[in-house]
C-alpha cells in the first residue's frame, strides 16, 4: 500500500511541478472577464449564461487536460525509460498503472475543486447561489474525467505518445456521438443496426454523463438517472483499466 500511495503521490507531484495549475488561473481570468461582459449585455439570463459558460469552460479545460496528462503518460515513461527504475522494484506493473491513474485523477480532482471554489465565489458575488442541478453536473463531470482518463491510460498502455493522444481525442468525441450512432443504426435497420449497436456498446457513452445543459436551465436530474449514468461510466472506466493492466503486464519494454 505504501508503494501504491508513493507512486500515486509522485504522479500528483509531477503534475504540480510541471505547472498544470496555471489552468486554474486561466479559468479564473476568463470567467471574470465573461462575467463583466455578460453584465453589460444581459439582465434576465445572467445566471443561465454564467452557469452555461462556467461549467462549459471548466469541462473543456479539465477534459483536455485529462487527455493531455493521461494519453501520453505510460508511453512517455517507456520512451524516456523512467519506468525501468520503477517496475523493477517489488511492485507489479498493474499496481504501477493503477497508482499512476490514481495520481492523475487526484490532480484533476484538486484542480476541479479549486475551479469550483472560484466559480462558487464568483456566482456568490452576483448573489446567485448554485442549486442542486449545478452540483449534479459538477459531480457528473468527475465521472466524465474518470472515463476520459481511463481511455487515455488504455491507449497509452500499447500506443506511442502522439498516436495515443490522437486516438483519445477521437474516442472522446466519438463517445459524445455514440448515442446518435445508435439511433441512426436503429432507423437504418439491417447491418447498420447491428454495427450501430456494436459501436454504441464499445464506445463510452459520454453524452449520458453530460448534465451541463440541464444545469443551465436549473433542471435537477432524478436520482435514478444520475446513479445509472454514474455507475455505467465508472463500470466502463474500470473495465478499460483492467484491459489496460492486462496489456501492460504482458508487453516488452525494449
Amino acid at each position: 500500500m505504501n508503494a501504491f500511495l508513493a507512486t500515486a503521490w509522485n504522479g500528483f507531484r509531477e503534475a504540480r511541478r510541471n505547472r498544470v495549475t496555471v489552468v486554474v488561473g486561466a479559468f479564473a481570468l476568463v470567467t471574470l472577464l465573461l462575467a463583466t461582459l455578460v453584465t453589460q449585455v444581459t439582465v434576465v439570463t445572467f445566471r443561465r449564461v454564467m452557469v452555461d459558460t462556467g461549467l462549459g469552460l471548466m469541462s473543456l479545460i479539465l477534459v483536455f487536460l485529462s487527455i493531455f496528462l493521461s494519453s501520453g503518460l505510460l508511453a512517455r515513461e517507456i520512451e524516456r525509460r523512467t519506468i525501468f527504475l520503477v517496475v523493477t522494484k517489488p511492485i507489479s506493473r498493474s499496481m504501477f498503472l493503477w497508482a499512476r491513474f490514481a495520481g492523475n485523477l487526484l490532480t484533476l480532482l484538486v484542480l476541479q475543486a479549486v475551479m469550483t471554489a472560484i466559480f462558487v465565489a464568483e456566482m456568490s458575488l452576483f448573489r446567485f447561489p448554485l442549486g442542486p442541478a449545478v452540483w449534479a453536473a459538477l459531480g457528473m463531470l468527475v465521472v466524465e474525467l474518470f472515463v476520459v482518463t481511463t481511455i487515455g491510460f488504455f491507449c497509452s498502455s500499447f500506443l506511442g505518445q502522439t498516436v495515443s493522444a490522437v486516438v483519445t481525442v477521437g474516442l472522446y468525441f466519438a463517445g459524445h456521438l455514440s448515442g446518435d450512432l445508435y439511433r441512426f443504426g436503429q432507423k437504418a435497420g439491417g447491418v447498420a443496426s447491428t454495427v450501430g449497436r456494436a459501436i454504441y456498446f464499445a464506445l463510452p457513452n459520454l453524452d449520458r454523463l453530460n448534465f451541463r445543459s440541464l444545469a443551465t436551465y436549473d433542471v435537477v436530474p432524478t436520482l435514478d438517472v444520475a446513479l445509472k449514468s454514474a455507475v455505467s461510466g465508472l463500470a466502463y472506466g474500470v473495465a478499460l483499466l483492467v484491459v489496460a493492466s492486462l496489456i501492460f503486464e504482458r508487453r516488452d519494454f525494449k
Partner: protein
C-alpha cells in the same frame, strides 16, 4: 535454496524481436544463452554494442520476456514480485524523474523497495553519503550532470540494501573520475558480500572488478569463465623487433608467426613464446639483427578481440536478422 546455488541461472535463453510493419522480420537478439552467477561474486557480461548484454539483463529484470529457455533469480522467475525486494538494478543511461530532487527520488525508491517508513530518511542519508551526493541531494535531478544521474541511479539501487545488484553499462559515458567512483562503489558492495552482475563494453572496467566473465557476440555466448582462467588459457606471445631483413623473408621462415608489421625500416613480429628461440635463430641465420625482445602480457582486451575475430560476421551489431 542453499548458499552455493547460483543466484542467477539462465538456461538456453533466447530472445527474438519482431520487426517491420507486418512483424514478419525477426532479430535474434539472444541465442541459447546458458550461464550461472554464484553468490558473492562479481560477474561481468562483456560484448560489443548489440551483443545481447542489455537484452539478457532486461530478461532478468522482467522488462522483456524470453522467447524460449528459462531464467531464474534466487530460484524464482523474473516476474516474481517478492524476489525483486532482494535485488537492485541500474539500467543503461538511467532516467530518474527529473522533476524530483535526488533526495525525493531516493525516498520514492525506498518506498517502492518496501523500506519501513521510519527508516527511509536514515537510509536516504546513508546512500547519499555513499554515492557522494550529500550536497546535491536537494537539487532537482534536471540540474544534474550525467555523472550525478548515474550516482543517484546507483543510490536508488542500493537504498533497500539488495543482495544482488544488476548494473547495465554503469560506467558508460562517464569521465575517468566518474568511472573510478562507480568502480569503487562496486568494490565496496562486493566487500559487503553483495553479488553483482555487471555489463560493459569497457574492458578495463570489467578487468578491474570482475571475477568471472562471459563474452557475448551477436547474441551468442563465445567465452565464459574466471578472468584468470580465460587469460592463462591463451598462448603466451612475445614481441620481437628485427632489422636488416625483409618482411617477405621473415614470412617465409618455418616458424609460425602471429603478426608481422613493418615499422620505420624495422619489423615488429609477434610470435608464440615457445617458438621465440627458433625464430631468433632463423632471423640471425638469414642475416637479420634482433633489436628488441619483449614478452607480451595477454589482457582481457586481447581475449575479447580474439573472440570477436572468431565470431566473424556473426559479431554484427544488433544480432542476426531473418525473414
Amino acid at each position: 535454496m542453499t548458499s552455493t546455488e547460483p543466484l542467477i541461472r539462465l538456461e538456453s535463453v533466447s530472445k527474438d524481436y519482431r520487426l517491420g510493419f507486418w512483424l514478419n522480420r525477426r532479430v535474434h537478439a539472444l541465442r541459447e544463452l546458458t550461464l550461472d552467477v554464484r553468490p558473492g561474486e562479481v560477474f561481468g557480461l562483456l560484448g560489443p554494442n548489440g551483443a545481447g548484454k542489455s537484452t539478457t539483463i532486461k530478461i532478468l529484470m522482467n522488462l522483456v520476456r524470453a522467447s524460449s529457455g528459462k531464467a531464474t533469480l534466487f530460484g524464482q522467475p523474473p516476474s516474481n514480485r517478492q524476489m525483486r525486494r532482494r535485488l537492485g538494478f541500474v539500467p543503461e543511461n538511467p532516467a530518474p524523474y527529473e522533476y524530483l530532487t535526488g533526495r525525493e527520488f531516493l525516498s520514492l525508491a525506498a518506498s517502492l523497495g518496501e523500506v519501513p517508513r521510519h527508516e527511509i530518511r536514515a537510509r536516504v542519508d546513508e546512500v547519499l553519503a555513499a554515492v557522494n551526493m550529500e550536497k546535491a541531494g536537494n537539487l532537482r535531478i534536471r540540474r544534474y550532470s550525467k555523472g550525478m544521474i548515474q550516482r543517484i541511479a546507483i543510490g536508488q539501487a542500493l537504498v533497500h540494501r539488495p543482495e544482488l545488484l544488476i548494473l547495465d553499462e554503469p560506467t558508460s559515458g562517464l569521465d575517468p573520475l566518474g568511472r573510478k567512483l562507480v568502480r569503487d562503489l562496486i568494490l565496496s558492495e562486493r566487500r559487503r558480500g553483495t553479488t553483482i552482475l555487471f555489463s560493459s563494453h569497457i574492458i578495463s572496467d570489467v578487468e578491474a572488478v570482475c571475477e568471472r566473465v562471459a563474452v557475448l557476440v551477436g547474441g551468442r555466448l563465445v567465452r565464459a569463465g574466471s578472468v584468470s582462467e580465460l587469460l592463462t588459457n591463451q598462448v603466451p606471445v612475445a614481441e620481437v623487433v628485427v632489422e636488416g631483413i625483409t618482411a617477405e623473408v621473415v614470412q617465409a621462415l618455418p616458424t609460425p608467426l602471429h603478426q608481422v608489421e613493418a615499422l620505420d625500416g624495422r619489423l615488429r613480429v609477434r610470435v608464440a613464446d615457445d617458438q621465440v628461440n627458433q625464430f631468433i635463430g632463423a632471423v640471425i641465420a638469414k642475416g637479420g639483427r634482433v633489436r628488441q625482445l619483449q614478452p607480451e602480457r595477454f589482457s582481457l582486451e586481447d581475449m575479447f578481440l580474439s573472440a570477436l575475430k572468431e565470431a566473424g560476421p556473426r559479431g554484427t551489431v544488433g544480432g542476426e536478422i531473418s525473414e
